[in-house]
Amino acid sequence: MSAATWREFMTWNKYTQIASRAVRQALTETERVGAERRAQIGVRYQLWENGQGGESKFVIPQVEKSGKPKDT
């Protein structure tokens, strides 16, 4: 394989995410369903003030397949 041309464009983390996405695409149907579910990554944050936590929000709003936003 040509020596790491991806290094010009992305970090190692992004490289692993792309390679893992490709591996998941290559699975059989039944395996892929479980794998895709496991592969979901969401980051939430919560602002705290005076010892009280604010609303817990997703960095990227998660959306169910039907188009409705997922709650919590």
Binding site: S2, W6, T16, A19, S20
Partner: protein, 167 residues
């Protein structure tokens, strides 16, 4: 005079023995001289400090085989097959690994952290072919260089899978 020399020689003995003990490497304690393997994914531990005979890993710098008491080394992995030989003479167990790191610690233990790893029979040749065709299409189109780099990574994965499944 000679008694004095003998006494002082005897006094230094325990210290030299202690130095010799600390200079010797400590080995991860697995019975019968096996390598201690931990092969872990984010969602599952395939091996957890289990004694194995040999592990073949697809390092970015080339394939390598790790036996017991291997020198310490840190290797990023490329998409490829990890083979584990648990007992002498047994068939290797294989998993296709997407990416990760293999760390040989200096004490006869190997840790492989992988993002995705599946046995080869969980893959579908048709999906691999379709993925390869899509990636090649992106590569020959006029997409920006970033997307072409991503397509090259996917080609590496799918070609590695095809080679592994063909064996």
């Amino acid at each position: 005079m000679s008694a004095f020399k003998i006494a002082s020689a005897l006094r230094t003995l325990p210290r030299q023995a202690a130095l010799a003990r600390s200079a010797r490497r400590g080995y991860a304690d697995v019975a019968d001289g096996k390598l201690s393997l931990s092969l872990v994914l984010p969602h599952q531990s395939l091996y957890s400090s289990t004694g194995v005979v040999q592990v073949n890993i697809p390092a970015a710098t080339g394939d390598m085989g790790v036996l017991a008491n291997h020198v310490a080394s840190i290797e990023p992995l490329r998409p490829g097959v990890v083979e584990v030989i648990e007992e002498n003479g047994q068939q290797a167990k294989k998993w296709f690994v997407s990416a990760g790191f293999a760390t040989v610690h200096g004490n006869n233990s190997l840790t492989i952290n992988a993002v995705e790893a599946y046995p080869l029979d969980k893959f579908s040749a048709e999906s691999v072919r379709a993925g390869l065709a899509d990636a090649n299409r992106v590569l020959s189109s006029s997409a920006p260089d970033v997307e072409k780099a991503e397509a090259r990574i996917e080609i590496e994965v799918f070609e590695g899978l095809q080679a592994a499944m063909a064996k």
